[in-house]
């Protein structure tokens, strides 16, 4: 098959912010359908590949996880800057989900509980090396513009496959046919 007749693969970047990585796992759960999709896409940045930069002009950016710290925020903004189309994948990205359960508490209360009261040794706030926590865990669209929402915890592989196929075919998918909050 010559490269002249093959359409240029769609470039895809994914990031994993504050989430359990389950959405990426669900992506991999597409199983043999990955083989079907593989020639059509090119993963240019992802926790599962080894590139450090998100190339500008990337076609689709897929974000898993809520925005909980300054690093998440920076990554989300880099994705928005680099990608033409942003997908919020999974409940953490769409609703802030489980990470947002700390939002009813003060940030300091969370630190006290996690790093002092429950610390067996060397109680200390995590204030070196790790990025500072934001006051509240936010859904991705509270920080950057999002073009498509795929809720679900995690969104089923079928839903991810459907969404990707529709996007590859140049159509706007309706993910609620296959997934919902908490699915």
């Amino acid at each position: 098959m010559s490269s002249d007749t093959t359409p240029k693969p769609v470039t895809i970047a994914t990031v994993w912010l504050d989430g359990c990585s389950g959405c990426h796992m669900s992506f991999l759960d597409m199983d043999e359908r990955l083989i079907e999709i593989a020639p059509l896409i090119q993963i240019v940045h992802s926790p599962v590949v080894d590139t450090k930069q998100i190339p500008p002009g990337t076609d689709v950016g897929i974000i898993e996880g809520a925005i909980s710290n300054e690093d998440d925020e920076a990554k989300a903004k880099k994705m928005r800057a680099a990608c033409n189309f942003i997908v919020s994948l999974g409940d953490c990205a769409v609703t802030a989900n489980v990470p947002s359960m700390r939002n009813v508490f003060d940030k300091q209360e969370c630190f006290d509980r996690a790093y002092h009261e429950n610390a067996d040794l060397q109680p200390a706030n995590p204030d070196v090396v790790v990025p500072p926590l934001l006051d509240k865990a936010l859904a991705v669209h509270q920080v950057i513009d999002v073009d498509l929402y795929v809720p679900g915890c995690p969104p089923p592989a079928d839903a991810i496959y459907y969404v990707l196929s529709e996007l590859l075919a140049g159509r706007q998918p309706d993910p609620l046919q296959l997934t919902r909050f908490g699915k």
Partner: protein, 567 residues
């Protein structure tokens, strides 16, 4: 009670009055009382007693609101005609009176002198431009004395209605008068009455809505405190007209003085045979009970008010069915506001045509307004419908203090809106105000000068609505809270264009979808200030966010969406 008996009470009372040389009227409405007018009365009475015989022909009397609250406590002295000096009877008003003035006023009055230093001129527009119907007795009669009210022509409307008119005649007069609901809705009163009258039921009710709660509004309180019998007379006429035998006055517990005077008035009216069974020897029976509101603004909404009287949680229910067909305890119920009820005795006394002669084509009669905020003459006024805002603010209200510039007037409380300076020549009537993006409302007018931030004004009213939302329907419960958060963000200058767009969206949903008037009108202060002062909203937005993690400009791809979004 026959017409003759009523006449006799009036004559007796007048004769008792004529025995006196002088009358000193002291305002005993809430505002002046809060500045010790009660003590002034006590001191004056003590002084008169000390004078012995000389003081006997002078009477100190507690009267209701004289209107100009900012100059209170107010005292008015009636001097009799002095034929020797060729002077007619004279009234002198004193302003800013404190208990220290009591003695000197009594001394001067007994001697027939006036105290020029304390005089409040009454030939100013504030007094001369008013047209007093609802407040005709306020400041003249003793609200705790039924004879005083009768001597001023009170209850003659009721007695003539009962003895000379059929219920249909009464409704006809009310319809002809063109009177519209003064609580804010502006629904034609005659139509409401005839609807209730036409509905068949074994029991009907009349309810007077005295749950006045708009910030800056104190019209109903003044009427209740100054002339409570007027409400009783109006309600009894209403009961006769619609065929109700039982009535409730729903008054907020925050008005203890009004409650005290209403209670006294009801018991006096019962004693005089003006309430109870077989009024004026007709088969008509009528009882009035008080119900106290526990401090929820939403209970001013008629279905919530009904629930509250029934002993339930004060939350509104969907209308239709309207209370006129399905109201208190499931029975047809006529609900009118205090001011509406207070206009009724005048209509039955002078005829519907007389009221219809005042005002504009669609808004008849007079309206009581409470002037508050940045205005020289703070207080209560009653003006003919159709008067311009400019006349109210600059003539009657004597303009803005300290040479400041007028910016806007807020009418209609949390359901209303702000009217800017270029609309000041607009006539005050239901339609014009609505066209200007506000409502007549119950009559609060808050005047603001250039120091007021309109976003902050909107925030204030939204906070009020959020606190007063009952929480029953989703758009009002959540919408007001969300809108308040956004307005607070704007006041703190940390909002973005997206927040402003969201605010507009929330206004639309809350207005269209809320269950009752509270939610449906809660966005009005925002919408009207947005309409007239959008620049202030734009100024309240922050610039571009350049927080931690913002992307350097070089990485921004041309044609890609703006990477620097709000946080």
């Amino acid at each position: 009670m026959t017409p003759e008996e009523l006449e006799q009470i009036a004559v007796d009372q007048q004769e008792a009055e004529n025995q006196l040389d002088h009358r000193i009227n002291v305002c005993m409405a809430a505002s002046c009382m809060s500045r010790h007018s009660e003590q002034i009365v006590k001191d004056m009475q003590a002084k008169l007693k000390d004078m012995g015989e000389k003081g006997e022909k002078t009477q100190v009397r507690c009267v209701g609101c004289m209107g100009l609250c900012s100059a209170g406590p107010l005292v008015e002295v009636d001097h009799p005609a002095d034929e020797a000096a060729g002077k007619g009877p004279e009234k002198v008003m004193y302003r800013d009176i404190s208990p220290e003035h009591a003695e000197s006023i009594v001394n001067a009055t007994v001697d027939g002198r006036t105290l020029p230093d304390l005089v409040q001129p009454t030939d100013i527009p504030y007094f001369t431009r008013q047209k007093r119907i609802v407040t005709e007795n306020s400041g003249y009669i003793d609200p705790e004395c039924i004879e005083d009210y009768i001597a001023a022509g009170g209850y003659s409307g009721l007695v003539s209605a009962l003895t000379e008119m059929s219920p249909d005649d009464v409704i006809h007069e009310v319809t002809v008068s063109g009177l519209r609901g003064r609580g804010g809705g502006g629904f034609p009163t005659g139509l409401k009455w005839s609807t209730v009258a036409r509905t068949d039921a074994d029991q009907k009710y009349v309810v007077c809505n005295a749950d006045e709660g708009d910030p800056g509004a104190f019209m109903d309180r003044a009427v209740l405190e100054s002339d409570p019998h007027r409400i009783i007379e109006g309600m009894t006429i209403a009961g006769y007209a619609v065929g109700a035998s039982k009535a409730y006055i729903y008054v907020r517990a925050e008005y203890p003085l009004a409650i005290k005077r209403l209670k006294r008035a009801i018991s006096q009216a019962n004693k005089f045979g003006l309430l109870g069974t077989n009024l004026c020897d007709t088969p008509f029976n009528f009882d009035i009970e008080l119900r106290l509101g526990a401090g929820a603004f939403v209970c001013g909404e008629e279905t919530a008010l009904i629930a509250s009287i029934e002993g339930k949680r004060g939350t509104p229910r969907p209308r239709p069915p309207f209370p006129a067909s399905y109201g208190l305890f499931g029975k047809p119920t006529l609900i009118n506001n205090v001011e509406t009820m207070a206009t009724i005795p005048w209509i039955t006394r002078y005829g519907g045509e007389a009221l219809a002669a005042i005002g504009t084509e669609k808004s008849k009669g007079t309206k009581v307004f409470a002037l508050a905020g940045k205005i020289n003459c703070n207080g209560l006024i009653e003006v003919p419908m159709g008067i311009s805002l400019r006349e109210i603010i600059y003539e009657i209200g004597d303009g803005i203090p300290d040479g400041a510039t007028f910016k806007a007037v807020q009418t209609g409380g949390p359901s209303g809106g702000c009217v800017p300076a270029d609309k000041l020549d607009m006539p005050v009537d239901y339609e014009s105000l609505q066209e200007a993006g506000t409502i007549m409302g119950s009559g609060g007018m808050v005047i603001m000068d250039e120091t007021s931030s309109m976003v902050d004004v909107a925030r204030f009213f939204m906070e009020f609505c959020k606190d007063e939302s009952c929480g029953k329907c989703v758009p009002c419960r959540v919408g007001t809270a969300q809108m308040l958060d956004l307005l607070e963000k704007m006041c703190a200058k940390s909002a973005t264009q997206k927040d402003l767009d969201l605010l507009k969206e929330l206004c639309d949903v809350t207005k269209a979808c809320s269950l009752c008037g509270l939610g449906q009108t809660a966005p009005n202060p925002v919408l009207s200030t947005l309409h007239y002062f959008e620049n202030e909203y734009m100024d309240s937005l922050q610039g571009e966010v350049t927080g931690v993690g913002a992307v350097p400009a070089t990485e921004t791809k041309a044609g890609a969406p703006d990477p620097t979004h709000e946080k």
